[in-house]
């Protein structure tokens, strides 16, 4: 995973002026970044899918993108990241969604109050026209005291004017309450921008400058700023009473219980059909078994076998059963890659269309009962793609308590796309009864552990408050680029771990340690889980990655070592098993070591306990 330290990403000459892009979530900020720098970045429709800062160059300036925020403060991680970039910017390009101008200008006014030279790009002018709204751009510019350029960046409209305007960025009109109080605290800090945040009681900035006494002006300033923004909006915006556009009506239908839940069910079913059936079975059969399993396998074995033989250590290590040149690439490219691409493709469509926040609204009530709010559906859905990435996005959740619950549930019960693919392939032939039992058990563990954590953890969870972006038809280019970027990141992360895993297993096998371990665990595997003792090998593989473990089961099934009931039990155990090494590393980074250890060991216990209990019933 990329690190979030901004200073490392600001490349080369320190003297270069910093042009920082600032805006609310989903205003098209990233498209401006691309247009200026020519570099593609993630265009995200959900606040919180990334807190990475992209930087590039435009003429002699360093251009930095920031996460979408509604204001500069430290309510959450994105805001803290954005704040630190904005504080030390030389010029700010503020992208405003013209359709939501009343919301967006709050941030604009705050940046102006910081005393930074600003240019405003008034974006999405096409939607403004479509909805019968008129905006007096000259008056807006006059009121704010900074250049305002109308744009529809998606079509490239206004880009040239904007580029010219960047040379004329100006410090705008600050609100009176700021003008009055700023001089009082100015000497405590190095910059005007910091002084504003001192007035606004930003705890990080106060701490950095060792300021303990504050006047407590945040509420007053926010109120004054809100009043000023409303005043400006009333002056410059005219609504003609045109009927709500189709996209707005559709957005409402998607949130009405009668339409919303059935649509959600259909979306999930289609996703399963596409990823779980089409990709996991049809496509994978072709990529894994034919392309990689036959053509590639024959090629590499024919190439290396004459040189090193099959039975030597090197032969086993490179091209044996768990060979780093056989098993690892076959699983990574034949199995993982198609699944991950399929999953991220669907997710990108959901993100870019604005559907994801609506899923959060629909699931809010159910998630409340396990101590989460609707926002948590994002990491949970992401978890089906990659638990590691999902664990990072638990940062969007409002309290430590929620982050712990979500992380624990992700680590315990959510199988990632790669694992899900193997599981789907193994369980589908067993028939509906087995599939239902599997889903029921996993769901039960999910609900029970969530409910118990919600009961025993101290504190209170936060409530949902989420901005619903308008529904938009995703741009195919963006969807594909995003799918590409995320899939590549996934493979780069999973690939080396698979190679490492394959190497470790080969060594354990060659030295006979694997048998020793298998025998040592026989009481659990054979006695309690009622599985052949060789299954222990799959679980050892599972410690490295759960999908690697599932792949081990796949191998056993193809050799006819497990009967249908045993497959079910093994799958339950491997699903609930410890998260992969990458995810565990992220968990340890994000949570305290005590919490992390509880999650990791808890997964072991719950996994074997659940599978064992099921085994007592069905075998």
């Amino acid at each position: 995973m990329q690190c979030h330290n901004l200073t490392e990403q600001i490349d080369i000459n320190k003297g270069a002026r910093k042009l920082v892009l600032v805006g609310n979530p989903n205003v098209g900020k990233s498209l401006f970044f691309n247009a200026l720098t020519g570099i593609y970045v993630d265009v995200s429709n959900f606040p919180g899918t990334t807190v990475d800062i992209s930087s590039g160059r435009y003429n002699d300036m360093v251009v930095m993108d920031t996460p979408g925020v509604y204001g500069v403060s430290s309510f959450n991680d994105e805001e803290r990241v954005a704040r630190d970039v904005i504080l030390y910017a030389d010029v700010i390009l503020n992208v405003v969604d013209a359709l939501h101008i009343e919301r967006d200008l709050f941030l604009t006014q705050q940046i102006i109050d910081m005393g930074k030279p600003v240019v405003v790009a008034l974006n999405m002018m096409d939607e403004v026209r479509k909805n019968g709204i008129q905006i007096d751009v000259d008056e807006l510019s006059h009121q704010l005291g900074v250049p305002v350029i109308p744009t529809t960046i998606i079509k490239g409209e206004g880009l040239e004017e904007l580029k010219k305007a960047l040379d004329h960025a100006r410090v705008g009109n600050r609100i009176p309450i700021v003008m009055e109080h700023l001089p009082k605290v100015r000497s405590l800090v190095d910059e005007d921008s910091e002084a504003l945040l001192v007035l606004e009681e930003d705890e990080n900035i106060l701490e950095r400058h060792n300021i303990s006494q504050t006047e407590g002006m945040r509420e007053k300033i926010y109120e004054a700023r809100r009043a000023r923004v409303n005043q400006i909006t009333d002056k410059v915006v005219q609504h003609t009473n045109k009927e709500a556009s189709f996209s707005i009506k559709l957005g409402r239908w998607l949130l009405s219980p009668i339409v919303g839940f059935p649509v959600l069910a259909v979306v999930l079913w289609l996703t399963y059909k596409f990823v779980g059936e089409f990709i996991a079975q049809t496509v994978v059969e072709w990529t894994e078994e034919i392309i990689m399993g036959e053509y590639y396998y024959n090629f590499i074995v024919n190439l290396l076998e004459p040189l090193i033989g099959m039975d030597s250590f090197l032969g086993q290590f490179l091209i044996g059963e768990f060979g780093v040149l056989t098993m690892a690439p076959i699983y990574v490219f034949g199995l993982l890659l198609p699944l991950v691409v399929g999953f991220y493709f669907v997710l990108s469509i959901m993100e870019d269309s604005g559907y994801l926040p609506r899923v959060a609204v629909l699931t809010d009530r159910s998630l409340n009962s396990i101590g989460l709010n609707g926002r948590a559906i994002i990491p949970i859905i992401l978890g089906f793609g990659c638990v590691t990435m999902a664990t990072i996005t638990t940062r969007v959740l409002g309290s430590k308590r929620e982050r712990f619950i979500a992380t624990a549930l992700l680590g315990l019960t959510i199988p990632c796309s790669a694992q899900l693919g193997v599981i789907a392939g193994l369980i589908a032939p067993l028939g509906a009864r087995m599939i239902l039992m599997y889903v029921f058990v996993i769901l039960l563990v999910f609900v029970l552990s969530g409910t118990i954590l919600n009961k025993i953890l101290p504190g209170k969870s936060t409530d949902l408050m989420i901005d619903l972006p308008p529904l938009r038809i995703p741009r195919p280019v963006n969807v594909l680029k995003k799918t590409y970027i995320k899939s590549k990141a996934f493979i780069l992360e999973a690939g080396p771990l698979f190679v490492l895993g394959a190497a470790i297993i080969t060594v354990l096998q060659y030295t006979g340690i694997l048998d020793v371990i298998s025998n040592a665990f026989a009481p659990i595997t054979e006695g309690f889980l009622k599985l052949p003792k060789e299954t222990a090998v799959a679980f050892i593989m599972g410690i490295i990655r759960r999908d690697f473990g599932a792949a081990g089961l796949n191998d056993m099934v193809s050799r006819g070592m497990l009967n249908p009931s045993q497959i079910l039990i093994a799958l339950i155990a491997i699903t609930l098993f410890v998260p992969c090494i990458a995810a565990v590393m992220v968990i340890f980074k994000e949570r305290t070591w005590k919490e992390s250890l509880v999650i990791w060991l808890g997964s072991f216990v719950i996994s074997f306990l659940t599978a064992g209990i099921v085994a007592q019933f069905i075998i």
Partner: protein, 72 residues
């Protein structure tokens, strides 16, 4: 009355928001004491959808109970 009691399509004015931390965040989205808003949707036992000009925001049930409103 509180926001969770608002009915679909009702126009109302915010009287107060009990939680200070929340009110500091809500003001940026256009939800603040005195704001005139419309309830455009309600999920049974779940969030309330409110509209402010072209902007729609979903508010969890628990939070809606902390927002006092007055029907217009």
């Amino acid at each position: 009355m509180t926001l969770d009691q608002a009915s679909n399509g009702q126009r109302f004015q915010v009287v107060s928001i009990a939680d200070r931390d929340i009110s500091n965040q809500a003001i940026r989205l256009g939800i603040y004491k005195g704001a005139k808003l419309t309830c455009t949707g309600k999920l049974p036992g779940g969030p309330i959808i409110i509209q402010n000009k072209m902007q729609e925001i979903a508010i969890g049930r628990g939070l809606a109970k902390k927002i006092a409103i007055q029907v217009l």
